[in-house]
């Protein structure tokens, strides 16, 4: 059942490949269900959404949900704000986390593994109890209602949650044969050159993973912007979405319509970026 083997399926394999395709297609149907549910809900009134047993096709179609939802908040502004944060956070995370991970995976220095272990403890303490001290710190620096608390930590290897990215990069870097570095060092390269011209080009799949995760993380982050931003002109998309489902009320139709529009960019992003997963870095081939 190994996946990566089928370039020219043998006769016996053809049957099992047929079965696999069936599984793939049925699975896909199940995967599409929540999305289809989102679409149909986005086109329903609140009353329709909850009719039991549920209806899969809206009748009548509540097209007005879309204009209603998208004009309820200045979403264009929120989109711009979100994209500014995305640009700073994604670049900072990818650059600093990969660089740090390169050090942990491929450079030798005393205390390296201890430092890595200590960094990892940063994600083991529930954020609920570090939230207030962190907030007090940013407040003291006068950084409230700016993007600084939401962006600057990303340039320090993500600080906090970014450790997961360092760990991920590290695991991938450890699968790249060391001979390649060695050859470059013999040719007089320094570690920066090895990092940028050997390791990173071989790591497109993991870079893409970190880009996707970081992008989606920022896109969906609600608590950070909620805490640090107070003027509504600084709000992000996730905050805008939350207005449809606030403390005691929910406008489900509008929430679903706005959610649908808001996730489309990340669906597209994934669709575009996942092609880097097929570039099949055949390591031993490069070595040869």
């Amino acid at each position: 059942m190994s996946a990566a083997t089928q370039s020219r399926p043998a006769r016996g394999l053809r049957v099992s490949r047929g079965v696999m395709f069936l599984v793939l297609a049925l699975g896909a149907l199940a995967m599409l269900a929540p999305f289809a549910w989102l679409i149909r809900s986005a086109l329903m009134t609140d009353a329709q959404i909850f009719i039991n047993p549920p209806q899969w096709f809206p009748n009548p179609v509540a097209w007005e949900n879309f204009p209603d939802a998208l004009t309820a908040q200045p979403f264009a502004r929120y989109f711009l704000n979100t994209m500014i944060i995305e640009a700073v956070v994604v670049t900072g995370t990818v650059l600093t986390c990969s660089l740090t991970a390169f050090s942990f995976a491929r450079l030798r220095w005393r205390g390296r593994n201890l430092v890595f272990g200590v960094l990892l403890t940063g994600v083991m303490l529930p954020y609920a109890v570090t939230l207030i001290p962190t907030f007090v710190g940013w407040a003291a620096l006068g950084a409230l209602d700016t993007f600084i608390p939401l962006t600057v930590p990303a340039w320090f290897a993500g600080a906090g949650g970014g450790v997961f990215n360092i760990f991920l990069f590290r695991q991938f870097f450890l699968t790249i044969p060391y001979e390649m570095d060695e050859a470059a060092y013999i040719d007089g390269a320094n570690p920066w050159q090895v990092f940028i011209s050997i390791v990173m080009p071989l790591s497109k799949p993991v870079i893409v993973v970190v880009v996707i995760f970081t992008f989606i993380g920022v896109w969906n982050d609600f608590l950070g912007p909620l805490l640090y931003l107070s003027s509504s002109e600084n709000f992000t998309l996730a905050l805008g979405l939350a207005t449809f489902q606030s403390a005691y009320t929910a406008q489900w139709g509008l929430l679903m319509a706005a959610s649908l529009v808001v996730i489309l960019p990340i669906v597209l992003l994934f669709f575009v970026l996942q092609r880097y997963f097929v570039e099949g870095v055949t390591l031993t081939g490069i070595k040869g």
Binding site: L226, T243, T249
Partner: protein, 454 residues
Amino acid sequence: MKPLVLNRRDVLRLGGVTALGGALGGSLVACSSAGPQLQYMFWGSTAEQEAVESMLASFEGTLDGELTVEPLYTPDDYDTKLNALVASNRMPDVAYISNGMAYRLAEQGKLLDLSPYFEDHPGIGGRLPEAYNFWSETQTFGTPAALEIMCLFTNKAAFSEAGVELPPVTAADAWSWDDFVDAAYRLTVDQSGRRPDEDGFDTTQVARFGTLANMWSAAWYGLLLSNGVDVVDASGTTTQLNSPEAVAVLQNLVDLMHEHRVAPSPTQLGNNAPSTPAQLASNRLAMAIDGQWALLDISKSDFDYGIGVLPSYGTPMTASMGGAIGISAETEHLEEALALYVHQSDPTVVGLFGEGLWMPVEEKYYTDEELIATWTDNEVHPQEYRTAVVDYTMSSSKRYFAETMRNYEAIDKIISPALERVQTGEEEVQAVMDEIAAELNDGVLQGFYPNPLV
């Protein structure tokens, strides 16, 4: 060498983007440090957000000088943000606060005592006595911005279809519980037209339920009081939830679901069920006990609705409630904050009163005919609203115990799971209540906060 070049260019490009981001971030730092501000923090739906922001804008128009009003709209995770602001000494000048936290902040000296301003500001001193939140015999952080009571909403079409008389609209005529159950029987119908008391009634295929067994403590508090008991006895430290009267009320609610089958069980309903207004509007539900605030959503749905008073076990009673609002004790703009405190509750300024979401807190809006008309004389408020809500509030309401009991958060952690157990219909109400009574009486109950005005 190619990859190296490519990557360098990428690095440069990324650096450029970062610089741009930094610049934009910097510009935002600059524009947020404007002149003196009066901060107003609140939650709510988009409709409430709009109404509150326009209320704040109209208030800002009354100010001279450079003071501006800064709305801090916080749709969700409100407590999280407010805790963070308090911890960093940045409590907003005026803020919605959940009740438990409000009492806590008041006791810590973070909220302004409004009692010294009662005389100079009739808008602060002249409110319904029940509405005040006192944290000691003499100190109060005021009242909610708006009041609410629990009432009985109906879908009139369902009643005429079933040939059932609409519920009474004055406290004096309130239905007995049996009248209520009887009406619910006749209003419930399955998809083949059978009633719950007819053979072959299919509980899984109910087209319309007569009512909802609202197990939320605010919904049954009025019923409990009506049956002659409160959540605690006079000492405030012994619960009466396991008294025969309280158990009868809860048992009756549970019976609506499992015995009479005129109300959906929790599993039939599911969490995140459609809101009560939506169910009423779609004729899935004929009548329901819900908060007055539901009127906003109900009035926006396209159906013929009515309001009645809750059934009574003897003395007609309902619960009144409202989210606390406080003024920071450290506000630098005291007079303006007090003025805003009055302004936010003025039905002639804030649209939410006329739209059905809020009820006023000042007493005169319940007693002066002309003033009553300012918020009830419109399309939203049905004719019977005058007696079923306005008079009912004055004659038969008591403040919801969750908003006046000490240590309520701990109490709730015991009561809520117990109610979840009870409503499955699988456990004896008496046994469960006896079990939690032991826990509650063990130091968890610490009495009510005083209200010298009542």
